[in-house]
Each structure stands twice: as C-alpha cells, then as structure tokens.
Amino acid sequence: MEDGTMLDDRNYIKENLVGDIPHRILLFTQLLRAAYKIDSWCLGGADDHVHLFNSSSEHQEILRTFLEISGGFDFIALNQDAQCPVFFSDALGCIWAGEWTPQNAEEFGNLLFILGPVMYGKNTIRNLESRLDSLHHSKSVRDALLAVLQEVPVVEPNTFMSLGVMLHCVLTGEEISMADCVYQSENTAGRSSGEDEEDDILHPSYEQSSQATESLIMRMVREGDVDGAKRYHGKKWLGKPLQLDIYDSMREMQDTLIVFIALCSRAAMEGGLPARLAKNLEQQYISAVESTRMPTALTDLSMTMFLDFTQRVQSVRAGPSLSRPIQDCCAYIQTNLLKNIDLKTLAAEVGYSEYYLTKKFAGEMGMKLSDYIKQQRVEYAKILLQTTDKGVQEISDQLRFSSRNYFSAVFQSFTGMAPAAYRAANTAKGGSSCR
C-alpha cells in the first residue's frame, strides 16, 4: 500500500459505519489510550492509496511510516478474508494488531483498525540502544529514533492478545478466542528482496507457567484431552509473566517455549506416546523455535506444538488394539523419517520376518507399510512447511524423496494440495494444527 492524503476525520467513521460500531470503536480506542497508552489507527483505501482517518498517536506521522515499512499492511491485506485479529512484528521488535471492519465503507471499502505499537518487554528498547551504540551514529540520529520508541508502551503478550480479541468483539459483536487470531510467522513475514536481515531486533519478554497452570496443561497432554487443549489454548498463553529482564528478551521467550516443549514431550511419554517419537517431536519443535526470529511466530508455534502432542497421545490411547510390535514399528518409522527406512531393518527392529511384518502391518493398520511411511513423511513435511522457510526441494531431500516432483505428487495425494499451496494456506492463517 502506498501513501495517500492524511486525513483526521472521525466523522467519516461515524457516517460510514452503521449501528453502534462507531461509538464502540471510539470508546474502545479511548480506553486503550487511558489504560495502556496504546495507540489506535483507522485506515482505509485501495492498494495504492491509503487514507489515515484517525489516530490517537502523538507521533502519528513517524509511526505511520514505521507501520508502512514494517510490511504489516501487506500481511494484514493477505489475511483480510480471515475476519479476525492479525498480529505482526516489525524489525524493531514492536508488535501490532489489526482487523478489517466487516462493513464496507463507501469509496474506501473496508476500514482497517490497527492497535500498536507495543513492546513485550523492557529489554526491547535496551537492546535496541545497545545495537545503536554499536553502530556509532551521532546523538541526533540515535535520539531521533529512541525519542519515539521510548513512548511505546510495554504490554504483556497475554494482555495485548486479549485486546486483539476485544477489538474483534467491538467490530463484530462476536466472541472469539486467541487461537482464532492470526499470528505472523517467519515465512509470512514478507521481507523485501535485498533487505539486510542482520540488524532486525526482536526482543519481547515472555511468560512462564505457574505451577497450577503447568499441572493443568500437562494433564491435558498426558490424557490426550484434545477438546480441553483447544478450549484452553484459546483462552490463555502460558500463565504468569516471567519478566526477569536479565538478558535478551527474545532469547528468554525462546527458552521458555523450549521448556514448555520439553514438559509437553515428557507428559506425552507419560500418556503413552513412544519415547523415541516424543523425543523426535521435541527436537523438531526445538529446532523450529531456534530458527524463529519473530515473537508472533513463537505464539503460533506454541499452540501448534501443544495441540500436536495432545492429539498424538489421543491417537495412541484410542488405538490400543495395535499389537506392541506394530506400535514399535510405527514409532521406529516416526523417529527415523529423515533416514532411509528399509524393510529389513524394520523387521529386525520388531523381531519379525519381512514377509510377516508386511502382512501383519497391513492387517492391523489397514494400509501398506510403504504407504504409512509416505503418510508420516507428509505429516513431517507439513510441520516443516508451516514452521520453517525451507524450500520444497530441501524438504523433499531431507525426507528422502527421490525427487521434488515425486514428493509433490505424494504430498498432493495425501493432502489434496501441492506443498507450496499448503504452506500458503497454513501460514497465512495462524494457530492451525500441523497434523
């Protein structure tokens, strides 16, 4: 989106949105400003002509430029059909949330309401100061940026996500959960070609589970309580804030999620998920956390991981009719998807002859052994497509497919869509399970 005339026209909102929505919007934005010092923005327009109708920001012009160069407009535009709050981060580590009005306003189409920027931790500004120090710019350049950012409020992730849910309620009257929102992830960030990646700074602080919260989450995973997990992860994210502010906040956030992954993995093992499979999943998710550079992507990943472990435990507990050797066979396959899996090794692993294993596997599982291996590799590919920016060729090679074309054909046969289409469909709308 490009710049257009800057307007400050609250009347436009009042005249072009029906019912009590204008009143609710104006009240909500006043409350945000009064309680949290969070700015709100109302914009509208076509691709090449954006109008700013109203903003509560004292640094309206400069923050609008920040918003435009963040790429957030493109991400929100991509998710217009999602009809829910969209959260995204910028290269300074600030977080924004936005949603389109459900009604068309004449001339400008749907209006876009944006909340932000906020920071998730005090370290965001501290680390930015350190980064600026290392660049040795003059005081006037340094202060020009810091003067604006020092006014940006620090808000807990749970609080800001709740405000996004409230924004949706203000605009539509509907009640939704945090899980219904869209969170920008690595491969939806839309970095411009040629843009330098090294100086991106993302430093939100994070949260840690209280003992009671932790017990509740672990029980859900252990018992494969998928319904409970879906209800829970939509309401709250990881309990009490950690807020140590002792080191890099993004690192703090990643470490907290890694601990959470390890706890889910342990609970899943206690719930009956084979240990090797649980550890393998744990490593996959930790790798995804380490390669993530955006706080909004961590939120998405956390929800995906939590549901994935819970659903896998549910599957194991729902299928006790499988014999132990076939369970072991499945676990071996799931933990060795990145290696060549041959029938001889599999048979030796479970103590059957190759012939007997293929017969018994097909009898109990209702599918050929080779098809099961393909299915599991497709499941793994889904996770990689959703949580990493690896190319289709790289994923095909990693999962031992003989060619990219063959991988695409197999993937399509299981999912009904090509890998690239799956990535586009599942990374634009966050919070979806990787199963």
Binding site: E2, D3, E61, I62, T65, F66, E68, I69, A91, L92, R131, L135, H137, S138, S140, V141, A144, L145, A147, V148, S192, S193, G194, E195, D196, E197, E198, D199, D200, I201
Partner: protein, 77 residues
C-alpha cells in the same frame, strides 16, 4: 543528492529496494545510513521526520543508474 521536500518516506524506501546497488543517506554530521538495511530504514524515517535534518542530508547511490529510479524524490542539481 538532497531529498525533495514533502516526499513520502515509505514510497521512497520501497523505490530504494528496487535499486541495483546500495543506497546511502549521509547526515549533516556524517552518519551513513544504508537504506536497504532494516534498522537503518527506521533511523532514516525518524531522522527525516525532522525537516531540518532531512534537507541537510544527502542520498548517494553506488550505481549511477539508480539515481533515475529515485528521481521523483531527489533534488537534481
């Protein structure tokens, strides 16, 4: 070359992304901001919000042809 007055900074930065070589903004005090770097874009946006700082600075392209791409935003001598 100096920046024109009243330009749209985000449009200018999008145009910079289309340039073949590096594009730098030099401030009056000698700071060099690489306009293809994410952090420097924000610094540039902050600096140019101050009209005095903006017009005391100078844009330099490594590739001569890139000046044509930015012509709408630059004051040609």
């Amino acid at each position: 070359m100096p920046l024109r007055e009243m330009i749209d900074i985000s449009r200018f930065l999008k145009q910079v992304q289309l340039c073949k070589g590096e594009v730098e903004f030099y401030t009056r005090e000698g700071d060099c901001l690489n306009l293809k770097s994410a952090l420097s874009k924000y610094l540039f946006a902050a600096v140019t919000a101050d009209k005095e700082l903006a017009h005391a600075g100078e844009v330099r392209c490594q590739v001569e042809g890139d000046y044509d791409l930015l012509a709408d935003f630059l004051l040609v001598n």
